[in-house]
């Protein structure tokens, strides 16, 4: 039975009460040329059995390939308990509760999530999440322009070493607000943002600089120098980080003398499975002084009239249901279910567990890097410290290589970097998380060797 509360009879009674013949008549004021008409490309509905069959068949086509692909979303082991607990009825709601304070359990969980993220990032405050990593960066850029009241330029320095998808999503969101994203090149030898290229902007009115860690190439940026540059030039700093890497590396709150102003990124590595690009969740933290410019919901802990602990939505005057068009963002909701999983994931692993995952991912990628670059026709693109990804150059067409290895050997050989960075030639971004074994890496190396050298 469909979950539609109105019967045909109910609908006709409602229409006749207000003196309208059909539901379509209610939309009369929309001109014909603005209507989409019939959606001919959309197939008619299928029942549950048919849909299940279709999805099973599609999934079977993918098979279970051996994955060395990262580029923003990563295959980590997720303990079975994570989604067992997340999908309990008490948590299994993907949305911010509308009668928020009646849902103390959900609010407490979000509060715990915020505490964990703030601690992982070394920052004062976290919001209750955003849509995904790319849109979180766009929100961070908008926030920085609001928060940097001394700056009138609406110019943002955006390193070319940032994930190109993040760059294009941010561009799409901020371009109509007259915000200019200025490219900052990377050093061809190290893959790090070129500090000398920043010199031309010293003293110029710049609203904020974006600092990725690690950057899209897996390379660790010189974050202290970049953060210090921002402070010297009265520019706000926005870190875009992989949360897993922060279990191992110095968190953005401790970069340079001051720490950064805003941190954002993709939360998927924390307990969210790879699923064709989503749903994932974005995260955002900031210094306390910027909290009123922060988008998204914030949960606070308080005491009620009887002196008992309780959780509540706080600083709501920033949000659209109060501030209307002047709200800090139109995102007042969050990816509640994914955040639930991430909170449970982090609490099951603890800081030591997270650190082990990060360390093993780093170790495996080092092994992968050494093994692959020993192959004739493969070399490392950048000489730099990396976290759990690196770029290799190959003596073959990168696109064709990826397709062949996927089809013939069920190996996802990496991300084709050449499309966004033609200057790198045929290059792949490869990744080995803690889920890859020595045997997996050996298998990949063997297949790649015979593809290139036989």
């Amino acid at each position: 039975m469909p979950f539609i509360p109105h019967s045909e009879h109910d609908i006709s009674r409602m229409l006749s009460t207000i003196g309208v013949d059909t539901i379509d008549d209610l939309f009369d004021e929309i001109p014909d040329n603005l209507r989409c008409g019939d959606l001919e490309q959309i197939p008619t509905g299928m029942n549950e059995m048919e849909v299940s069959r279709l999805l099973r068949d599609k999934a079977a086509q993918d098979g279970l390939p051996l994955c060395f692909l990262g580029a923003g979303a990563y295959e980590h082991h997720i303990p079975a308990a994570v989604w067992e607990i997340t999908t309990r009825g008490e948590f299994y709601s993907a949305y911010t509760p509308y009668q928020a304070e009646a849902s103390q359990g959900t609010l407490q969980l979000l509060y715990e999530y915020q505490s964990m993220m703030a601690s992982l990032m070394g920052m004062d405050v976290s919001n209750a999440s955003l849509y995904d990593g790319a849109s979180a960066l766009a929100e961070a850029v908008l926030m920085a322009v609001r928060a940097n009241r001394k700056s009138k330029s609406r110019k943002i320095l955006m390193p070319l070493s940032i994930n190109p998808v993040y760059r294009s999503v941010t561009e799409a969101i901020v371009q109509n607000q007259h915000i200019e994203l200025v490219d900052v090149p990377f050093d061809a030898a190290t893959g790090q943002t070129d500090l000398t290229a920043l010199e031309q902007y010293a003293g110029e009115d710049i609203a904020a600089i974006v600092i990725p860690q690690p950057n899209f190439f897996g390379v660790l940026e010189n974050v202290d120098a970049l953060t210090a540059w921002a402070t010297e030039n009265k520019t706000l700093s926005i870190a875009v980080v992989n949360p897993m890497a922060m279990a191992l590396l110095k968190p953005p709150g401790e970069w340079a003398e001051t720490g950064v102003d805003i941190v954002c990124g993709e939360g998927q590595p924390l307990g969210v499975p790879l699923a064709s690009g989503g749903p994932y969740f974005g995260f955002m933290c900031c210094k306390l002084q910027h909290v009123r410019q922060m988008p998204g919901r914030i949960i606070g802990r308080t005491t009620d009239l009887d002196g008992k602990e309780g959780f509540t939505l706080t600083l709501q005057a920033r949000e659209q249901h109060i501030r209307r068009s002047k709200a800090t963002s139109n995102i007042c909701t969050n990816q509640g279910l994914l955040v639930t999983a991430a909170t449970i994931y982090m609490s099951l692993l603890g800081p030591e567990g997270l650190k082990k995952v990060a360390l093993n991912s780093h170790k495996n990628t080092q092994l992968l890097m050494n093994r692959l670059t020993a192959i004739n026709g493969v070399e490392l693109a950048f000489v730099s410290a990396t976290f759990h990804e690196c770029v290799i150059k190959v003596d073959a067409d990168a696109k064709q290589l990826i397709e062949t290895l996927a089809e013939k050997s069920h190996i996802l050989a990496g991300f084709n970097v050449s499309e966004s960075y033609p200057e790198l030639g045929n290059a792949l971004l490869v990744c080995a998380t803690e889920t890859r074994t020595e045997k997996d890496i050996e298998q990949f190396a063997g297949v790649l060797d015979s593809y290139l050298n036989s």
Partner: protein, 129 residues
């Protein structure tokens, strides 16, 4: 019944404007406005040196239930802001006409004050609301 001193002028958007002996105009919000907003928790102040036009948004007061823009009642330059409000925004609730002032403008033309309501006119306005 809210308090409406007759030594100053009022905008229908609930700011008061007091012409001082040095020719500058001190600005705050009325007793009626602070009552409507409830407990204030934050004030976003303009910057000293900022040029503002009559009717421009130049400050925000935020209470536990609402955030409200403050419009400049005259054209001119901001010459002082009440930095105390950053730590004690409740001064606006406790003393809207004295300690709770928000900023001081050096006006270009004091005759703009004539467009504002006097205490009686403002009182009538708030009674109609």
């Amino acid at each position: 019944m809210s308090n409406t001193p007759d030594d100053r002028k009022y905008a229908d958007s609930h700011e008061w404007a007091l012409l001082e002996a040095d020719g500058n105009v001190r600005v705050g919000i009325s007793d009626h406005a602070q009552e409507l907003l409830g407990d204030l928790v934050f004030v976003e102040l303009p910057e000293v040196g900022q040029q503002v036009g009559k009717g421009d948004e130049c400050s925000v007061v935020e209470s536990v239930k609402a955030a409200s823009d403050i419009y400049s009642p005259v054209t001119g330059e901001i010459v002082a802001i009440n930095g105390e409000l950053e730590d004690t925004p409740e001064a606006i609730n406790d003393s809207p006409y004295q300690d709770g002032w928000i900023f001081v403008i050096k006006p270009e033309d004091t005759s703009e004050l004539d467009d504002l309501l006097d205490a009686e006119g403002y009182q009538n306005l708030t009674e109609d609301e």
